[in-house]
Every structure is written in structure tokens, then in C-alpha cells.
Amino acid sequence: MKHILSQVFHSGKFVVGFCIFMSILLLMIFYPIFNPGNPLQIVSIGTFAEPGIYVSVYDAVDSDMNTLKLDEAPAKRLDSVLKSEDRVKMVMWFDAAGIPVDNLSIHDTEALLTLWEENYDATIRPEGMTKADRNYFQRLDGNLKKVIVTHDKVLARQDPSSSELSVIRTIEDTDYVNIKKVANVKRLPLGTDNFGRDVLKELAAAIKTSIFIGLVAGSIATLIGLTFGLLSGFIGGLVDDFIMFITNIFTVIPAFVLLILISYSIGQDQRGPTTVAVVIGLTVWTWTARAVRSQVISLRNRDHVNLSKLSGHNLFLIIFTDILPYIASYVIMALILQISGAILAEAQLSLLGLGPKTTEVPTLGLMMNWSMLYTAHLNGYWWAYFPVILTIALISFSLNLMNTGLDQVFNPTLRD
């Protein structure tokens, strides 16, 4: 046993697969520990907040401030106001107003601003410019003035009864707040989704559910497939014919169609993750059964089975001691494939809206489904769907890699 394990871990493929899978598991286990709470809780009003760290402005202004003299601060401030499309627009304005822009680079903030300050005049109405455009330029001009001219800002409180303002603090452009001192900071490494939920937290929970579904469905499929395959292969005769008949029926109807039909007929409310897992498990066992059966048939004719019979061992003893150990490695590999297959099947089902009901737990498929429904993929909210796709791909990739690695160990003909 120890020997086999050490061999397994000598297979490069298995180790790579194992590491990937373990990192996913670690994410699944540890993220919720550091970040407890309901993964489906809505944290942001409005959809699809970008990934990043959110600092409470309300708390920030009350925190102790430090003065930092940073040379690059004004430039950065400018850059954050002057987006690249604004720069392009500015050049377009110069163009329309007939100002030569030959040597001007749009990345040269200073030159751009000097030229703007010298020339911009809200009253000029270049030809072909709409009212909306002109308003845009006025707004831009205002924004720019605000940054260039660094007046201090004043923070005031309004007295609710008299609606009088009283200054409570002046904020200079060199004032900084230590993020640690701010009472409320929210890290959203993957932003929020369409409902305003923390995507990473949701993802960690979804991985858990999906792996649960994979395990349950994979085990059910392997158990059924193994039992049927063993009985059918070992007993043969009528039992074999009967089991193969059932297997063939299940094979002829594509498992996925069956899955859709069953899921649909169960109805949304009844479909918890466990139900979905059972349904998947019940429909995909056929190939395990076939594979196990053909293995058993070739084993059944091995002489050690005949000798075991001659020693008076009964059917179950023979199956458990003379057949099962020989196909154990094979069954483990089939189980791994079934798990990865079930995770994919759940994703497909959910994408079609036939997955587990949406109110209890997230699954990888449901997350895909939501981001699709809210057209995250069309609007560039990559954080809502890309990490999910990547996770599904990595789970399936790592499981398959481990499987190939195992195959190389158990199947000496594939060893190099």
C-alpha cells in the first residue's frame, strides 16, 4: 500500500493534478474561515462592483490623518481624472477648433493640459459638435480645474434643526489616512455579482457544493455501475442479459437528455443539491457498469477464480477477495472521472436553468447561470463569470490529470 502510494506520488502528472486540486480545496476551506458569513448575502447595492478594496469614506474622514508629501501625488490625481478616452476627446476638440496638434502626444499630460488651459473656451462652437458634446467638454473642463487648482476641501456638518453648516475639518491634498485606522474596509477580490454578492465568497461556497454534488453523484454512479458490472460480468447468463438490457436502455437515451427531463419534472422547488446529485448519479452509471463488466469477464476466466471456486468459496467471497482487489485501481479511476463528469453535468444543467434551486446555496453552474442571465459576459464584468469558468476547468483538468497519472502507475504498459 505504502509502496503504491509512493509510486503514485512519483508520477508527475498525478502530482500536478493533485496540487491544483488541493489549492482549489484550500480556497474552498479557508476563504470562508477568514471571511465568515452567508455567501449569498447581498453586500453591495447595485450590480457588478469591480474587484478591489472598498474603503468607507464616512469613516475615513473621521480617522486620524498623517501628512505625506508625495511628489507624484498631483500627477496621479490628474491621471485618475483624465482617462484615455478624455484625452482622445480633447485632441478631437483641438482639431475641431483648428488648433495645431502636430507634436502632441496624448500621453503627455502636461503638454495636453497646457494647451487646453491656453485654448479652451466654452463659447467656441466648432462645427459639427453637438450640444451633448459641448456639455461634455464643459464638464471635463470643470473637473480638470478642480484637480489642477488644489484648494483645501472643507468638511462640514449640517445641523438637522437649523440646517446650518459648521466646519468640522479641513482636508488638504497632503492628508492621508492609514487604511488600518479606517473602521470599515471591504475587500472584494473578485468584486460583486449581479445581486451585489461577494463573488469570491460565493465561489468558495459554490466549489464546496459542486464538489459535494460531484462526490455524491460520482459515488452513486460508481456504486451502481460497480454492482451491476460485477454481477453481470461474474454471474453471466440471464442475470447478465437482464442487466445489460437495462444498461443498454440507459445508454441509448443520452444521459444528458434524461437528466434534463428528470430535472424538469422534479420541479424547481424540489431540486436541492442532493437531489440534483442523485439524479446525475442515477443517469451516468452505465459506462462504469460496462467497463467493470468487461474487466470482470476477463478476470472470471483467470485460473485463480476457478481455484477459488474449487476451494468452496461462495460467490460473495470470490467477488470480494478475488475480483474486487484486481479492479480496485480501475474503479478508483472510474470514480475520479465520474466526479469530474458530475461537476460538469451540474454546470450544464444549471446553465440551462435546471440546476438546484437558487435560494439556498450557490453552485458553480448557478453562478454561471446568473452571470449569463445578467449579461455579465456582454458588458465586460469578467469577474462574475471568468473565475467560475476557470475553476470548473481547473477542477476537471486536475481530476483528469490525476486520473492519467494513476493510469500510468496502475497500467504498466503505459509506463515509460
Binding site: 485460473d303 485463480h304 481455484l307 471456486k309 474449487l310
Partner: protein
């Protein structure tokens, strides 16, 4: 030699498959094997030797015909009857490498035999003594084998261990299906010697299956020649091999390389 009947068959037939795929592996054969006899069944590959052997062992059902055991029709319908029958008849198979469960140690193989003979309750020392005796019967040392796996032995040693197993079980009949065809000539001599010992010391009836008519001649009292499922000739070894009647027997003899006579290669 006692002429008491041990195993006999009338019209024994085995048909595999049906329709186009129908093969008659054993075709209406009659035979009488006597107690204490060393019988050989000889034929080329595919002539139905193994199929006949499996029917004799009760591992597969005969399609037609009747097999009698100790003069009475054999009754092996139920599991209990089968168990009783298998106490009387045991086998050694062709391929030693596939005859062992690779997950069981040698001790387990031998202990199982003791258990089958009703020795389950014996104290462990007694069991070890029995296993040691069985191993020394086949020139193996139990101390060296204990806690090893069968696949750590050579092919010849594995077949000898099989014989040790038979020694412990002491059945009335031993069916040896080409026990020497996968091992080298040197170990083969050892195995044959041990089979003879089983017969001479324990009085076992031995049914020896082979494709090498030379072996059959060397070792057996009676020889049955099988061709395509039929028994084409049988009788005392001396008579069948030195004065063969059937064409097929003559061909089998001519196929074996010899050292004192010319080996005629032109007749293939």
C-alpha cells in the same frame, strides 16, 4: 492395480454459443478413469482438453451426456454437493502466474486448504507443521516462503506450491491441465516427479492434460487422444504411442522432436 471406476463419462458433450458462433468443444465422448490410474489426455490446442477438464471439475455444465463419480451418477446441483465434490477432485492449471490471487500471501493459500479439510480449529503450531510438511514434499522450504507473495516465486516454484496445496487437500482425483507447458524443462522434470509421488504415496488418481505426447508416454498408464472434441484413440500408453492406430495419433507423435529417430520436417 485396482480396476475400480473413479470417473466415467457417457456421451459427454459441450457446445459453446449458438447459431453461426456454435462450437462443439467436446463431442460425445465416453471415457472410464480408474482409481489410482495416471491418465493422460493429449491433443493439440483447441481440441477441447480444457473444456473436458472443466466439465470434470464441475466448473461448467455439460450440454449433454452424463458423468459418473465412483460408479454413481454425479450429483452437483447445490452448493453443498459441490463443496463435497470439490473435496474429492482438485486441479492444477496451466498458467502458474494467473493461478494465484496476487493479493494473498502464500500462507493464506495453504491455510485455506487446511481449513477446507476441516482443520480450522487446529492450533497454529499444528498448522505450521502441516504446511511445512506439504512444502517439503515439493522441495520448498516453508520458512523461506512464509510472508511472501506467490509472484515472488519462479514459475516452477509456483507450480510446486500448487502441488503442495494438493498435498494438503488430498483429493481422490487431481486434474492437472498442462501444468508444465509454461515452465522450463528442468522444472518440468521436478513437477512430473512430484505428480508421480502423489500417485505412488497417496494413491491419487491423476488426470494429466498435455499437448506433448512425449510427456504423456513417459508418465502415464493410460492415454486418451483428443482431436477436435472427439476421443480418437485410447489405451495403455505403451500401445498407443508405440503402435498408434489413428492417423491423428501418428501425426502427434511425428510432431514431437526426437533424439534417436529422424524428425521428419517435411510432413507439416
Amino acid at each position: 492395480m485396482a480396476k475400480e471406476l473413479c470417473l466415467s463419462g457417457k456421451n459427454v458433450t459441450k457446445v459453446f454459443g449458438f447459431g453461426d458462433k456454435k462450437t462443439v468443444a467436446v463431442n460425445h465422448v465416453d471415457f472410464d478413469f480408474h482409481v489410482g490410474e495416471f491418465v493422460s489426455i493429449v491433443g493439440e490446442s483447441g481440441s477441447g482438453k480444457t473444456t473436458l477438464a472443466k466439465m470434470l471439475l464441475g466448473l461448467i455444465h455439460e450440454t449433454e451426456g452424463e458423468i459418473s463419480f465412483l460408479g454413481k451418477p454425479r450429483e452437483i446441483k447445490g452448493r453443498k454437493q459441490k463443496r463435497e465434490y470439490w473435496k474429492e477432485i482438485q486441479a492444477i492449471f496451466q498458467d502458474p502466474f494467473s493461478s494465484y490471487n496476487v493479493f494473498h500471501k502464500i500462507d493464506a493459500v495453504l491455510l485455506d486448504c487446511i481449513k477446507m479439510r476441516g482443520g480450522k480449529k487446529l492450533p497454529y503450531e499444528k498448522k505450521v507443521e502441516m504446511m511445512t510438511e506439504a512444502c517439503s514434499f515439493v522441495n520448498l522450504k516453508f520458512e523461506e516462503l512464509t510472508n511472501k507473495y506467490p509472484f515472488e516465486l519462479s514459475g516452477g516454484q509456483m507450480q510446486r506450491l500448487m502441488i503442495a496445496r494438493i498435498f494438503l487437500l488430498k483429493p481422490k482425483i487431481l486434474l492437472a491441465d498442462e501444468p508444465t507447458s509454461m515452465i522450463d524443462a528442468c522444472s518440468r522434470a521436478t513437477i512430473l516427479e512430484m505428480l508421480q509421488n502423489l500417485r505412488n504415496e497417496i494413491g491419487m488418481t491423476i488426470i494429466f492434460i498435455t499437448h506433448d505426447i512425449g510427456l504423456a508416454y513417459f508418465i502415464s498408464d493410460t492415454v486418451f487422444i483428443m482431436e477436435k472434441g472427439n476421443i480418437v484413440e485410447y489405451g495403455p500408453a505403451e500401445k498407443v504411442i508405440l503402435n498408434p492406430e489413428a492417423e491423428y495419433t501418428k501425426r502427434l507423435i511425428s510432431d514431437v522432436p526426437k533424439i534417436h529417430e529422424e524428425w521428419d520436417l517435411s510432413t507439416v
